[in-house]
Amino acid sequence: MKPRARHSLLTTEGMSRSEVESLFARARVHARGLESGRSVRALEGKVVANLFFEASTRTRLSFERAAKALGADVLNFTAQASSVVKGETLMDTVRNVEAMGVAALVIRHSASGAAHLAARHVRCAVVNAGDGTHAHPSQALLDAFTLHERWGSLDGKTVLILGDVLHSRVARSNLFCLTTLGAHVVFAGPPTLMPAGLEEMGGRLAPSLEAALAEADAVMVLRVQGERQTAGYLPSVREYARLYGLSAERAARLRPGAVVMHPGPVNRGVELAPEVADGPANVILAQVSHGVAVRMAILEACA
């Protein structure tokens, strides 16, 4: 068999608008296929390996569902049950799994750059399912797809990304993806959790949360983790909820028709009030179902 050009998805940085839009076109086909129960069996006879060196349930299940819907065989690997604890390196693991004849490695790892490192040392496709605080391209693509399906176009829309941007791979990948599609990206959150250089990367810092809410067409709420309190970034999760949480009162300042997104899992009552998470503006479950279709499009393009 003639070796084909390898495609990996490691980051949304540098993706062209036409690349993103052609993935969306395929995702739309897959979404209809999933609804009707007649999926495109594009990966029949191929093997996709999910290598999850960092715990994740939703993303792994979503990739597994996507690969199986395309007809692929799926290998699942989680770090807890593996030889990683015995000192086997990331490199050893990816080379070994590749040698089993896989078409694509889907990698989740707690270190930024792990997917790039793996991709440099294997010939099969690598799909980055989240590396440290660097990138989560499939999440960003499904977020953008969700907005695209709702609005028809992202051109000129304003998306507010709210919360712990410093530690968020979702925020970074969305920044690149959304701006490529013509949207404006605004950031808000505690100053201790705002990294340097967001303007140079194409974003804007909100002068205040209230002002940012008033101009947003969508709010992407990031998960805030309890470790930020112990590491000294925040006085308390409680205070975070009061100053930066998307409460019902804050959500009421949104424009009519503005949507609320969250990459999940939601800390209800912390970054997102329960009534907002379940309210009419939320598209969180649409994100989840679009996730499978978008990941099908990604695997189909890469594997």
Partner: protein
């Protein structure tokens, strides 16, 4: 046995400490520089070496080298490290104490000295630890380390976070007449970061190291120095603000010296693009303003020496996700051309460049050499200033290959290195060990 005598004929002698820049003959005999002369010197049995078109410089001195022995001989040994040194034109290096075990006792100091003597290449001046076990808690036996031959004290690789300890070490080392060399990094500010705060760190999802991690410690130690006296030496200065503080401190007459590393005056954090762990070190690569300020500091005398912070690491330490990869780059075999690049860029006059590699570091630590003084040690580096070459890490004499300069074109190369009158590196190659 006294080494053979050599006459270096017709080279451009560059000896900044003596204000010499002239075509001269240089006679080396009995381990010493015997004479330098504008007129041809009689060979008188000495071997004649034609060095016309080449520069004859005082042997280079590196104040900051990790030789890794004892403990990490897979990365470097005193033998391989001093091979790399003489191949890079260095006739003397100061060996950092963060070995395993660390050099916090005269026993380890003597081991380093014995291995260096057996290697018979560059001179190795041991640096003693500031604190027992480099733990930053109790002072090491500085008096014993000094008596054994340690030329300075440092916990390099780690900062002295405890300000009380730092103050007492400055006081104590002052009585011993030794500089205290500091790795300035406030760990509460660096806080697990991997790259300078800025767009590159954010883009790559690496936790940031703010410049204040270095600058605030420089400020703290200058305050302590002003209060208690002594001699403070700041290692690997990387930030514009550190250079400014040092300039002010020197203007006020404080006894502070400082060094900068070639990677910090050559590269910015852009070199880390796409996770290049061979561009990972502490302090990290900074921004263009910092590079400009470090260059200015080298030019105006705020910084006293170019020091490589040669830090060998094996491939397993570097073939890791960026945040997990080891800190440090090798530097001994690329420092000269990177320094000469500053001359071509108009940053440094050529005499200042040579001074920063030789008499500058010698004066900072009070080491022998650094000039071609008749009667002084015959430590001489002969340089071809126009030779062009490409950095091929697999050809390094160092045991390690971790350089951010791989594949880069360089101008300027070491031709001969004499240590104590012996040609340890000759015509671009290590000399075969002569049978005694």
């Amino acid at each position: 046995m006294s080494p053979p005598a050599f006459v270096l004929r017709g080279g451009r002698v560059m000896d900044p400490a003596r204000g010499v820049d002239a075509v001269q003959d240089v006679l080396l005999r009995g381990g010493h520089v015997v004479a330098t002369s504008d007129r041809p010197l009689a060979a008188d049995g000495a071997r004649e070496v034609d060095v016309s078109g080449l520069w004859v410089c005082p042997g280079f001195i590196d104040l900051h080298v990790h030789l890794r022995e004892p403990g990490d001989e897979g990365k470097e040994t005193i033998l391989t490290g001093t091979r790399a040194a003489v191949a890079g034109g260095y006739t003397a290096v100061v060996a950092m104490p963060n070995t395993r075990p660390p050099n916090d006792s005269a026993l380890v100091t003597r081991l380093v000295q014995e291995r260096a003597a057996a290697a018979r290449l560059a001179r190795v001046w041991p640096a003693g630890a500031i604190s027992k076990g480099l733990a930053g808690e109790e002072m090491a036996e500085l008096g014993e380390l000094a008596a054994a031959g340690c030329v300075c004290f440092t916990d390099d690789g780690r900062p002295v976070m405890n300000a009380g300890l730092m103050r007492r070490v400055l006081q104590y080392a002052r009585a011993l007449g030794r500089p205290v060399m500091v790795h300035e990094e406030d760990l509460t500010l660096a806080a697990g970061g991997a790259l300078t705060e800025g767009t590159q760190a954010t883009r790559l999802g690496l936790l940031p190291i703010p410049r204040s991690a270095e600058v605030s410690m420089v400020a703290r130690d200058l305050v302590l120095l002003e209060e208690v006296g002594g001699h403070l030496h700041i290692a690997h200065v990387s930030c514009a603000e550190s250079v400014r503080l040092l300039r002010e401190a020197k203007a006020r007459g404080l006894r502070v010296t400082a060094e900068a590393a070639p990677h910090h005056f050559t590269l910015t954090d852009a070199a880390v693009a796409e996770w290049n762990t061979d561009a990972k070190m502490t302090p990290p690569l900074r921004g263009p303003e910092d590079v400009a300020a470090v260059r200015q500091g080298l030019a105006d005398g705020t910084l006293d020496a170019i020091a490589t912070d040669h830090a060998p690491h094996g491939i397993l330490d570097k073939q890791l996700p960026f945040a997990e990869a080891a800190n440090g780059v090798v530097g001994l075999e690329t420092a000269l051309p990177l320094t000469l690049a500053l001359v071509r860029a108009g940053v440094l006059p050529v005499a200042r460049a040579i001074e920063l590699l030789s008499s500058g570091p010698a004066a900072a630590f009070g080491l022998p050499g650094g000039q071609l003084l008749p009667g002084g040690p015959a430590d001489v580096t002969v340089v071809d200033p126009v030779a062009e070459w490409t950095v091929e890490p697999q050809r390094f004499h160092s045991r390690s290959r971790n350089t951010p300069f791989a594949g880069m074109r360089m101008v300027g190369r070491v031709v001969h290195t004499f240590v104590g009158g012996r040609p340890v590196f000759f015509e671009g190659a290590l000399e075969k060990e002569e049978t005694p």
